[in-house]
Symmetry: C2
């Protein structure tokens, strides 16, 4: 079993690659829930949704979030009613939010809800929220402290960032299965997600960082940074605000203490070489995921480094 | 000000007629909430919605409920997820349910929520739920006790009916404004709604029947029964189960103690004559509301009998 830590659109693309390279049932995906928010009275878990949709093969490739070909009639009706509409919820997407909210109100945990929804989609991967308790990623900006969705979606990540905190994280525990998965995985992969706001909240849940340091499995991350810029999104700004150098050096620093290997872009070969030690390797490859083939290739690269036998085992079967 | 008691599709058609005959701001509409139900975790108030939509000019004429031209993408996604879909909620319709549910969860009363939603639609009529407390119309059938929506929508009102009760009604009070409206109206109109499950729940709220008996305004009902059959829906079955004759006699009996005048179909002239006393009149007219013109005509007939001066006042202005 391969464990993946993920969040954001880069994470969803990476998981899309993985599901094309090895069977979905080999994957257990630990997902960031720091972006979770209340929207129109519904509990929205954007990163879990993206993973569900990508595994179900219905993630919108065009948008990178939501359901492919979705319509927005309810959203427009909400706009006509004068309700906020800066967070786009499609009509089909709504079904998942409604179902999750109903199950949570009936007393299910987020893990249970996620398992039920994944089952209804017929998914064979295991999807685990990082915690069943609420962690809220809060972005402190000159305009005030914002939720991640406010910062990212509503305000187009244009605000300067003073700092980032994960409100509530210290009082949480990992969701059932999270620590076991990290301990018993053949490999732990960290998706090319934003280290601060996608992977950071996961690492802020007490016990997860320690489990990553202690697991016998190799821990391999794919860099979301090429040179001194993020492949997409606000990772660079957020890393800088979090005191991390915007480079593969910064990525390595974010994961210090448990990362065994970093997959960096070929253009970062010089820094990679300088970073490599006897206990920490940096492997250079193409890590851009522009096409579906790219995604599979990046997944295959990470898997080959972390767990070559699984790639060999399934090489003929998948794709 | 004209007060209207209403519920169901017949009630919505009648209100559609009224809004075409007198200005909407002259109308205060007291609406049945006995059909209210929880659906996908949302609070649904079907009769309030129909009145909102008809006043907004967007009620589907084809279906008699929901928003004209609405789509059902969320419903289909719910079906794919294995959730119940026998109660059809359109994508635009969802917006109202979401907004209502959110406001209720924030502590608003149903009256407040209804006022806010009506304002957002730009409506100038006043819409009052019969009560802010929950009343649940329960239909006892050989298949067990059903909610009104289960009986009516899920099972197509095919079950024999043993009895009908309005669970919780005795512990409720009329919503703010209901008693005042009845007391101070120029006329009270009872829509051609099902006397048992549309008007019955309103009358079951303690104080409303007394207010109708005491008001100085004439109380005029339009019959939902022609001959020995309902114009539409399960009114006949429900009236019989409730011990009411399925005829205009039964309608008169349901409203005994406060009804001053009943508008019946011309084909019921003989019974009408027999029913008429010095204190209770039955007026015969065409009460079928097949076309928009019919609706206006039925509204005009009821208004002319109850409050001729308002019809004269606005005769030139509206339509």
């Amino acid at each position: 079993m391969i464990c993946v830590l993920t969040g954001g659109t880069g994470g969803a693309k990476f998981v899309d690659g993985l599901r094309r390279v090895i069977p979905a049932e080999e994957l257990t995906i630990i997902v960031n829930t720091g972006d979770d928010d209340d929207w129109w009275g519904l509990y929205i878990s954007p990163d879990i949704d993206s993973i569900i949709y990508v595994l179900a093969g219905i993630l919108s490739g065009e948008r990178g979030w939501g359901v492919r070909g979705d319509t927005f009639h309810c959203l427009r009706a909400m706009k006509d009613l004068g309700e906020p509409t800066w967070f786009s919820v499609g009509d089909r997407d709504l079904a998942v939010h409604l179902m999750r909210t109903k199950l949570l109100s009936q007393g299910c945990t987020l893990s249970e809800v996620t398992r039920i929804i994944a089952e209804r989609f017929g998914l064979s991967s295991r999807i685990l929220p990082m915690s069943d308790q609420r962690v809220q990623t809060r972005i402190d900006t000159p305009a005030g402290e914002l939720s991640f969705e406010e910062y990212f979606v509503k305000r187009w990540f244009q605000d300067p960032v003073n700092s980032v905190r994960f409100a509530g994280a210290s009082e949480t525990v990992p969701a059932p299965g999270v620590l076991d998965t990290i301990a018993s995985a053949q490999a732990v992969l960290i998706a090319p997600s934003n280290p601060v706001t996608s992977i950071g909240p996961i690492l802020a849940v007490p016990g997860i960082r320690e489990a990553l340091a202690q697991t016998k499995a190799p821990v391999v991350a794919v860099s979301p940074i090429i040179g001194s810029a993020a492949v997409s999104g606000p990772a660079a700004t957020l890393m800088a605000a979090h005191g991390l150098e915007v480079s593969i050096r910064g990525v390595a620093a974010a994961y210090q203490g448990f990362l065994d290997m970093l997959v960096a872009h070929t253009s970062d070969a010089a820094v990679a070489e300088a970073l490599t030690t006897t206990r920490f390797q940096v492997h250079c490859a193409n890590i851009l995921m522009e096409t579906q083939q790219d995604r599979s290739q990046v997944a295959r690269t990470a898997l080959s480094l972390a767990c070559p036998q699984i790639v060999t085992a399934y090489a003929a079967e998948v794709e």
